[in-house]
């Protein structure tokens, strides 16, 4: 009994010391795709600024936007920028902070094609619309003359839950195929014409890995982790590009010229010879003026850290860092967030 009481006191003591250490807790929620990176950032950042704890829960991009709008969290995170309608719902101005870039890869499972499959935007759209049903379709064959394509059905795998990955992918398909735009459209969760649903990136990669003849789309890191092959996609300039850290950063570079001031843009189908066409920014959502000035100051400090030191951690987890020119623009934007109490 005495031992028990003693240990209770010790536990209570540690609790108190830990409790007094952390003075500010910032809460955020949203996108799942950058979760591994954010998790690393927030845990690394504690060593930089022990007084700030940033708690991030990956509940999905859609959830990030909603909880941010309902102000149940201090900041949101999303892969697809907020729409005009959503911005209008916000009670005070919203700032989008791009953090890193991610690529969505078209992955497949073919017994005889371990790598090097080439696809054009039209083919991808047709496959996901259900118009191309066989792997040995002449359209695919002429594009990949050396590949051994059997008379095998194409099994389409897509996300079953709302996701930023789907948003980037469907945004791309809407840009390259007018039929897709009319029939399906783009969004975090769409009504898929055909295919099987998998929950999360891991669900899709798991199904593709299991099913011969399947094709799906996942974040780059998931394809790499699961040793899944992915296709080179023909970009705007007509060259076939494999997704890589470099080709994704190139896509961001290619769209810098047309970058709007609030960074709300899609960089799918980007200009440039080396650009991989299915990629996108992932954003943090912050209010221009937060109700709590202390929290705002801490958040700004973190965001600045993320733009410099944080970027260095990105490549090790297969996320592409932002191009240098963009970092400067974003830093200017971060400075515009109010950190003092206005009234």
């Amino acid at each position: 009994m005495k031992n028990f009481i003693c240990s209770l006191i010790v536990v209570a003591g540690t609790i108190l010391t830990v409790a007094t250490q952390a003075s500010v807790m910032l809460n955020g929620a949203g996108a799942t795709c950058p979760y591994p990176l954010y998790d690393k950032w927030f845990s690394d950042y504690r060593k930089v600024d022990p007084e700030t704890q940033i708690n991030y829960q990956s509940i999905g991009s859609g959830g990030g936007i909603r909880q941010f709008l309902e102000k149940t969290v201090d900041f949101g995170a999303t892969d697809a920028p907020m729409t005009k309608d959503q911005m209008d719902k916000a009670t005070s101005p919203v700032v989008h902070i791009p953090t890193v870039l991610g690529a969505v890869v078209v992955t497949y499972n073919l017994a005889d094609v371990k790598k090097g499959l080439k696809l054009t935007p039209e083919l991808i759209a047709d496959i996901f619309l259900g118009k191309l049903t066989k792997w040995n379709d002449p359209k695919i064959k002429t594009l990949n003359p050396s590949a051994k394509l059997a008379d095998e059905s194409i099994i389409v795998v897509h996300r079953s839950d709302g996701s930023g990955t789907s948003a980037i992918f469907t945004d791309y398909l809407s840009k390259v195929s007018s039929e897709w735009q009319q029939k399906v459209g783009s969004g975090t969760s769409v009504n898929w014409p055909i295919g099987l649903g998998g929950k999360g990136n891991e669900g899709v990669s798991g199904q593709v890995k299991q099913k011969k003849g399947s094709i799906g789309y996942v974040e780059l890191i998931y394809a790499e982790k699961n040793d899944l092959p992915y296709a080179a996609v023909k970009n705007e300039s007509g060259s076939f590009v494999l997704p890589s850290l470099k080709s994704v950063t190139a896509a961001a570079q290619g769209s810098l010229a047309s970058m709007p001031a609030d960074f709300r843009t899609s960089i799918t189908n980007a200009q440039g010879k080396e650009s991989y066409p299915i990629s996108g920014f992932t954003y943090l959502l912050v209010y221009q003026s937060m109700p709590n000035a202390e929290k705002a100051a801490k958040l700004v400090k973190f965001l600045k850290w993320a733009m410099r030191d944080g970027q260095k951690a990105a490549p090790s987890l297969s996320y592409s860092p932002l191009p240098e020119e963009l970092v400067k623009k974003v830093e200017a934007k971060i400075d515009s967030i109010e950190t003092k109490k206005v009234n």
Partner: protein, 288 residues
């Protein structure tokens, strides 16, 4: 309806054979039901035990790609949530139980009894949804408090009904004896009736705690989750079940490993509360 004459019409050997067969079938049924128990416990133990060490129990989660780290925050978070839930569940549950057994007569008592039974069968995800609308949205924050309320609401009917059953077992003569001594009724209720069945009631409370300790669904939209220590009840807080859920659907081997370890800790926690309730206080419960 089968009658004896029909049965007797069948031959004796056939009847005997049928008897053997059915008895065997029932035995097999018991075995079949226990197979998943052994499988689950076996996997949880084998996969979890290797990952449980001091740092797992005392450290914060490590980010992806770094080994080590633990679930200490989730462990403490679960305890905090249990305490909050117990405060709500016990006060409300016990009061309801006492009311039903000591004062509950007529229509009102039937309605309350029925409501308690119905409340216990509301799916826990619906309770989570309810608490989100009731507390999280107006407070503009996910919080430990909301999680505690959600779990507390789940505890209320369990405690209320078990307390009622136990208090009813106290013979009326005991109450009458107390009243005859000139004690007011509230004193008789608390110091004679309630005290007499105290250990049984503690059993009921502990079983309720064991049930909510493993609940995940009501916490998803209320306590949310937290990767750090959290002592502020108005902030999100981590919990073992939610942490296990997040880790198990992630694509990282390291996190799967930790999910199994967390599951082992959770199962041990739930089972020890459960067993403690059953064995420590069993002599006093005479339910049969």
């Amino acid at each position: 309806m089968i009658t004896f004459s029909e049965i007797a019409a069948q031959g004796y050997t056939k009847r005997k054979f049928k008897n053997r067969l059915m008895c065997l079938l029932f035995f097999v049924a018991a075995l079949v039901a226990l197979t998943p128990l052994f499988s689950i416990m076996g996997y949880v133990f084998i996969k979890g035990v290797g990952s449980i060490n001091w740092s797992f129990l005392t450290q914060l989660p490590a980010p992806v790609g770094e080994s080590g780290g633990g679930m200490a925050n989730a462990l403490v978070g679960t305890c905090v949530l249990i305490v909050l839930a117990s405060i709500i569940g016990m006060t409300s549950g016990l009061a309801t139980g006492i009311y039903l057994s000591e004062y509950g007569r007529g229509k009102l008592a039937t309605i309350i009894r029925f409501s308690a039974d119905m409340l216990s069968s509301v799916p826990s995800i619906v309770i989570g949804l309810f608490v989100y609308i009731l507390i999280v949205r107006p407070m503009q924050s996910f919080s430990a408090l909301a999680g505690g309320v959600a779990l507390g609401v789940i505890m209320i009917p369990t405690i209320a009904r078990s307390a009622e059953e136990l208090l009813k077992l106290v013979p009326a003569s005991v109450r009458e004896a107390g009243l005859a001594l000139g004690l007011p009724r509230w004193k008789v209720t608390i110091w004679i009736v309630l005290k007499g069945s105290l250990s049984g009631i503690i059993t009921g409370v502990m079983l309720a705690i064991a049930r909510v300790a493993g609940e995940t669904a009501p916490l998803l939209f209320t306590a949310l989750g937290n990767r750090f220590w959290s002592w502020n009840l108005t902030q999100p807080i981590g919990s073992l079940p939610v942490q296990i859920f997040t880790y198990s659907i992630s694509p990282f081997e390291e996190w799967h490993r930790q999910a199994w370890a967390g599951a082992l800790v959770l199962v041990l926690l739930v089972f020890s509360i459960n067993l403690g309730a059953r064995f420590v206080f069993r002599p006093q419960i005479s339910r049969d």
